[in-house]
């Protein structure tokens, strides 16, 4: 039982970090970033290149992947999303753009990094063993703690920094924020970059454990969508709650339902549908936010 909980916490911390980036982008620009999973894969590959090929320390890889993704995110917002949002008659049109960007990133990753599964050597060896009740490799514990640290840093940044306050204002009411003198364009770009950088960080963290391959982008996007549906789109606390809930459900489901075959996700999906029919805006979302 304890083992399941620890696994769930570990999964949840990573999931929450992915969902945070997605929900930040959504709350600022009302854009559903289909390319989020691909950004995460790109982050993993950047870390792999820096750590395994250039033989640099892991932390440099993480910083590089966050930087690269932040630049990609900023460019995507400035040159692609902003003009399309200005010209388009219906705001859903950005979905085609987002899907196009997802395909584009897939293609770039395929051309630059190839289709092979990549991984980096373990950061620390050894397994934490608490009387055979909880068994956890040390590197997983480290990654889980790093993820939780980053979540905490992100929350502190959003709560107490000037940029964080500007972005929260934008998410609450765009018109009012503009009237109060918030530079909408600049903070939208900054927010997009920050969201993409978070995706890159998760990719960098996970490459040490599960490795990374091209096919992981799409499923990661779907999982991230589920998390923000559970928690409520555009709400930071919701994304974190959604991430941990999904991680827990996956961990519990894989253990409890294993005898019935591979139906964990089917059950999770069905539960989600029922849940959403009672609470369409998720746990903490604004109604129709």
């Amino acid at each position: 039982m304890e083992q399941i909980l620890v696994n769930g916490l570990y999964l949840g911390a990573q999931y929450a970090l992915i969902a945070l980036g997605l929900t930040l982008i959504f709350s600022l620009m009302n854009v559903l970033n289909f390319a989020h999973g691909q950004m995460y894969v790109l982050g993993g590959f950047v870390t792999y290149t820096v750590v395994a090929q250039f033989q640099l320390p892991f932390i440099v890889g993480l910083i590089c992947s966050a930087m690269v993704l932040a630049i990609v995110g900023a460019m995507v917002e400035k040159y692609l999303f902003r003009p399309v949002i200005k010209k388009s008659r219906r705001e859903e049109s950005t979905m085609l753009l987002a899907a196009g960007i997802a395909f584009f990133l897939d293609a770039v990753i395929l051309l630059v990094f190839g289709e092979k599964q990549r991984g980096v050597p373990k950061i620390i060896d050894g397994v934490f063993n608490w009387d055979f009740i909880v068994i956890m490799p040390y590197d997983r514990i480290l990654i889980g703690c790093l993820a939780i640290l980053m979540i905490a840093a992100f929350i502190l940044f959003m709560q107490f920094s000037r940029a964080g306050r500007a972005m929260r204002a934008l998410a609450q009411d765009k018109v009012a924020a503009t009237l109060m003198g918030v530079a909408v364009d600049r903070y939208a770009m900054f927010g997009f970059a920050l969201g993409a950088a978070l995706a890159g960080l998760v990719g960098g963290l996970l490459v040490t454990i599960t490795g990374i391959n091209l096919g992981m982008g799409g499923p990661a996007s779907i999982k991230a969508f589920m998390m923000i549906m559970i928690g409520g789109a555009g709400v930071i606390s919701g994304a974190i709650a959604g991430g941990f809930i999904l991680g827990m459900m996956e961990s519990v489901g894989l253990t409890v339902l294993s005898e019935y075959g591979d139906i964990t996700y089917l059950v999770i999906f069905a539960t989600l549908m029922v849940f959403l029919s009672f609470r369409p805006q998720g746990l903490m979302g604004k109604p129709w936010g």
Binding site: L32, E92, M95, G100, A107, F225, G261, I263, F269, L276
Partner: protein, 323 residues
């Protein structure tokens, strides 16, 4: 309806029923039959997605209904020995009923919530197909018979596809006919009272319901028509490929159905048809570029979106506005 419109429709019919077979016979590229048949069938499913856009919902779940329709048709044909022509409407109606059951709760969602839940629905359908015994899991259902003879009062309306000299052209005509019917129905719906009511939902649901439009009922109706089209498309598709697997229609397909609508233009009934043709053909034509296929395709998509964010058919509007 003015003369210009009638002429355009006549030209369209001539092109698809006589022009295309003639051009293929002349050029000897018989593989285009399969491509065009796929385009026609996929555009039926896209037409369904477009209808949900018309009530202001982003539907990324059409793949689920195409898969469900395909499986219903495949199971009825292989295990109960029914003819394809009987299973086709059954598959459509099954999807429509399924859409009512699923739609009642999820149509209360809006915007991205609805989009995400339908995306998840595609994945649910794939996992269900993997888990259920009747669908035979990952093995899928193979060697589905070709569509048989359809006769009414002893008169053969459609000959048995197995006896046809060239079943490809038979399938092409079948798919194109379905497409014409589907779009005629769609056009009729949009230009009817139902269509006007749907438009009111798209613009402002609260206002519509305050005037006395039964929004819940309309949403479910539109969604089930949309899913009916998806089921028909799925069932016809498996008759051509003669096999179905849980991966026959997946998230990528659902996303593509939605992209077809965006590309053609959300404000135009025939937008999804054009969008499907462009996306499918564009992808096929780029095959010769090898490993750069996806890169060029994605760049073109992004470029198109930057140039024409309201769909390709919005070019027509500009022409009208200029003189």
């Amino acid at each position: 309806m003015n003369k210009q419109k009638i002429a355009a429709i006549a030209a369209f019919f001539l092109a698809i029923y006589i022009g295309v077979p003639w051009a293929i016979a002349a050029s000897g590229r018989t593989d285009f039959y399969y491509t065009l048949t796929s385009v026609a069938l996929l555009s039926i499913a896209s037409a369904g997605v477009w209808l949900t856009f018309y009530i202001g919902r982003i539907n990324i779940g059409q793949g689920a209904y195409a898969l469900a329709g395909g499986y219903v048709s495949a199971i009825l044909m292989t295990q109960y020995g029914l003819s394809f022509w009987t299973t086709l409407p059954v598959a459509g109606v099954f999807c429509a009923v399924l859409a009512v059951l699923i739609g009642l709760p999820i149509l209360r969602l809006r915007g991205v919530y609805f989009a995400m839940v339908t995306l998840v629905l595609t994945e649910v359908m794939r996992l269900t197909a993997l888990a259920l015994p009747v669908t035979q899991g990952a093995k899928g259902i193979t060697s589905i018979p070709l569509p048989g003879e359809l006769s009414l009062f002893g008169i053969t309306l459609i000959p048995d596809f197995a006896t046809l000299e060239n079943p490809k052209i038979g399938f092409y005509w079948m798919a194109v006919t379905f497409m014409v019917i589907a779009y005629a129905v769609l056009w009729r719906i949009v230009n009817s009272r139902l269509g006007h009511l749907c438009r009111s939902l798209q613009q402002n649901e609260e206002l519509a319901s305050s005037i006395g439009v039964n929004t819940a009922y309309l949403r479910v109706i539109a969604y089930s028509i949309s899913s009916f089209l998806g089921g028909i498309a799925g069932a016809s598709f498996i008759a051509i490929s003669q096999s179905i697997y849980p991966s026959s229609f997946q998230v990528t397909d659902s996303v593509n159905f939605m992209l077809n609508c965006f590309l053609g233009g959300l404000g135009y009934v025939f937008g999804p048809m054009l969008g499907t043709l462009m996306l499918y053909f564009g992808w096929d034509l780029l095959f010769t570029t090898g490993e750069y296929q996806l890169l060029i395709y994605a760049s073109l998509l992004i470029a198109l979106m930057l140039a024409l964010p309201n769909g390709v058919l919005s070019l027509l509007d500009k022409k009208k506005a200029q003189p």
